[in-house]
């Protein structure tokens, strides 16, 4: 992609985030549901309530609140969580790596499974088995991630108790982590026992996130492989004496990959959004799980911080996908 295009995209980020922030800000304050009311202990005096309200700036007019918030954000202060009483920045920073690791594992699993199924499906083209594969794929595609989470939980957590169904790490494994990227750190410090336990906890939730995405990738890639194989340049490769395997590898696959990445790349953000429920179902300590509690508790600062975090991730993901497509497709790189 040309640098000017990239810069334009980057330049659009702050206003987009501002818009997102503003909408959430207003939405939360304009409708019923008082966070202060939810956290006051019984027997609190009206003076106490008023003091709490002032502490969180909720006694100011709406516009003043927004301007104050903007000023704080500009200096990196995302406020203080009402329900958890800590700085939002720290709270999110502590949980974000868990979600990132989960999502990354899910994407990796999805790509492996999706590509494998697409290639197998291509080889089976025209046979009875292909129909079976397509139908099974459709089934996997139709069930959303949180439903898969419930099914996997039932299947491999309860009926066949093979894997844990909650948490990130066995509490009995006492490890002092320096960062919150537990999996990466344990692998880098060669603590494979810890890494194994982390993976055991991550397997079911990331599988739940991965399955629908894998089915999508499989369907897209299979269709694109078929289309690419019919293109002139692939057919002409036959006239040059190349074997079918070589043609699939060198001519068909690289070309089929481009629209596949472009179309499925959009869905990666959906996968990320799915962490909200899947983490909840598996009691996994990431930002998704935190988001649900924040909403239930009407914790405005935390909700705002989390939504902004998600928005930044979405935008970054979209940009990354577009860059990837530009890398794969030389036609997009030159004017």
């Amino acid at each position: 992609m040309r640098w000017s295009a990239i810069l334009k995209r980057l330049a659009l980020i702050p206003p987009t985030l501002l818009g997102v922030g503003a909408i959430v800000f207003v939405l939360l304050r304009v409708v019923p549901g008082d966070p202060i009311a939810m956290m006051i202990p019984p027997g609190a005096s009206p003076a106490d309530i008023a003091r709490l309200r002032a502490l969180y700036g909720l006694d100011q007019p709406l516009l003043a609140q927004f301007v104050t918030w903007l000023g704080q954000v500009a200096s990196g202060d995302f406020g203080r969580s009402i329900s958890l009483r800590q700085q939002v920045f720290e709270l999110v920073g502590a949980r974000l790596p868990a979600t990132l690791e989960l999502a990354a594992l899910a994407v990796a699993l999805a790509l492996m499974m999706g590509v494998a199924v697409a290639v197998v499906g291509s080889l089976l083209r025209g046979s009875r088995l292909e129909w079976l594969l397509d139908t099974a794929n459709g089934f996997f595609l139709a069930i959303p991630d949180f439903l898969w989470a419930l099914i996997l939980l039932l299947g491999f957590g309860v009926l066949l108790p093979l894997l844990p169904i909650s948490g990130r790490l066995d509490p009995q494994l006492a490890v002092a982590f320096r960062t919150h990227f537990y999996l990466i750190e344990s692998l880098l410090t060669l603590r494979f026992d810890v890494a194994a336990d982390l993976l055991r906890h991550m397997l079911l939730p990331s599988l739940a996130l991965a399955l629908p995405f894998a089915a999508l990738v499989a369907r897209l890639l299979k269709a694109q492989l078929a289309e690419a194989e019919d293109q002139d340049y692939a057919q002409i490769a036959h006239t040059r004496g190349f074997s079918r395997t070589t043609i699939l590898q060198r001519e068909v696959f690289p070309n089929a990959l481009i629209p596949t990445v472009a179309l499925s790349g959009v869905q990666v953000t959906l996968l990320l959004g799915g962490t909200v429920l899947v983490e909840r179902i598996f009691s996994y300590e990431g930002i998704g799980n935190m988001a649900i509690d924040a909403v239930i508790n009407r914790d405005f600062p935390l909700i705002q911080g989390l939504i902004l975090t998600f928005a930044v991730l979405f935008i970054a993901l979209n940009l990354a996908v577009d860059l990837l497509v530009a890398v794969l497709d030389p036609r997009l790189r030159h004017g």
Binding site: G126, Q231, D232, Y233, Q235, I236, A237, H238, T239, R240, G241, F242, S243, R250, E251, P254, N255, I258, L328, D329, P330, R331, H334
Partner: protein
């Protein structure tokens, strides 16, 4: 002179429809033969049969295709793949879609040279640059680094021609290589093909619907209609004194510099009708004949 390509009584059908009805055709070594016919006459089917690119539902009902005395149709796949691209090559029709869009020109040419000639990457690149120079590409080293979309249509066609002659083939099938190009570029391409042929000593089967092109570079020609060979012979003879009514009609419909435009006569529909009727009668005959 021994025949490079000999097609004998080839019957090809796609599903229930016959697309080639007993086509017989011979190309001698070093010969330039034109294969003429309108769209749907079966011209590309001949090439597809040779290259093994018939659609899935197609079946070769009868006939033989011999290349340098070897039976192409009966040959095992691996053996045939050794010939394709090396001894028999294709110049494709549409330069805009015939090159892999995501690979550089150099990479595509080198892959071909390495497959058939077993050259090292360095040697293959050198030969590729030489071939590009032969097809009058300026600055071959730079072009090798480019992607297809960075070249014009005419340039891409040159690359495809270079790739066809890369391994010194004995037979080159040119599938309407000028159809997708504009008139000014057409002449250059024809000259180029002729020059390459002389340099590499190949025979050419020039598939086209344009009698003007045939007149310019084909020494001999075959006229095809509804999958049947209607006329065959040296170009000079066929164009000056055509035997078949269809050939005469085609000539009458071809614009010529020495004739006014209003002298053009379309091919009479009645003639086409009768030709199709003949073809269908032939189908019935071959269907009832014991295999």
């Amino acid at each position: 002179m021994s025949a490079v390509l000999e097609i004998d009584n080839l019957h090809v059908a796609i599903g229930a429809a016959n697309v080639l009805r007993g086509v017989s055709l011979r190309v001698e070594a070093g010969e330039v033969r034109g294969l003429v016919g309108e769209s749907g006459a079966g011209k590309s089917m001949v090439g597809r049969t040779i290259f093994g690119l018939l659609p899935a539902k197609a079946a070769i009902r009868a006939g033989q295709v011999q290349f340098e005395g070897r039976d192409l149709l009966a040959m095992p796949d691996k053996e045939r793949r050794g010939l394709l691209g090396r001894r028999i090559a294709l110049i494709p029709q549409d330069p805009m879609t015939s090159l892999n869009p995501v690979r550089r020109i150099g990479a595509q040419m080198v892959a071909l040279l390495q497959l058939h000639l077993g050259l090292s990457k360095r040697a293959a690149l050198d030969r590729a640059a030489d071939l590009l120079a032969e097809v009058a590409v300026r600055d071959p080293a730079r072009v090798l680094q480019l992607y297809p979309h960075e070249l014009s249509g005419g340039m891409r066609q040159r690359v495809l021609i270079a790739m066809a002659f890369a391994c010194d083939p004995a037979l080159v099938i040119a599938d309407e290589p000028t159809t997708a190009l504009d008139v000014t570029v057409q002449r250059q391409v024809l000259q180029l093909v002729e020059r390459m042929r002389q340099r590499h000593g190949a025979a050419i089967l020039f598939v086209t619907h344009d009698l003007g092109v045939v007149a310019k570079i084909c020494r001999s020609m075959t006229v095809l209609h509804a999958g049947r060979v209607l006329e065959d012979g040296p170009t000079a003879d066929v164009l000056v004194k055509p035997h078949h009514a269809y050939t005469r009609a085609l000539l009458a419909a071809t614009p010529r510099a020495d004739r006014p435009a209003d002298a053009l006569k379309p091919v009479p529909p009645a003639l086409i009708e009768s030709l199709w009727a003949e073809a269908r009668r032939l189908d019935q005959l071959t269907a009832t004949r014991p295999a």
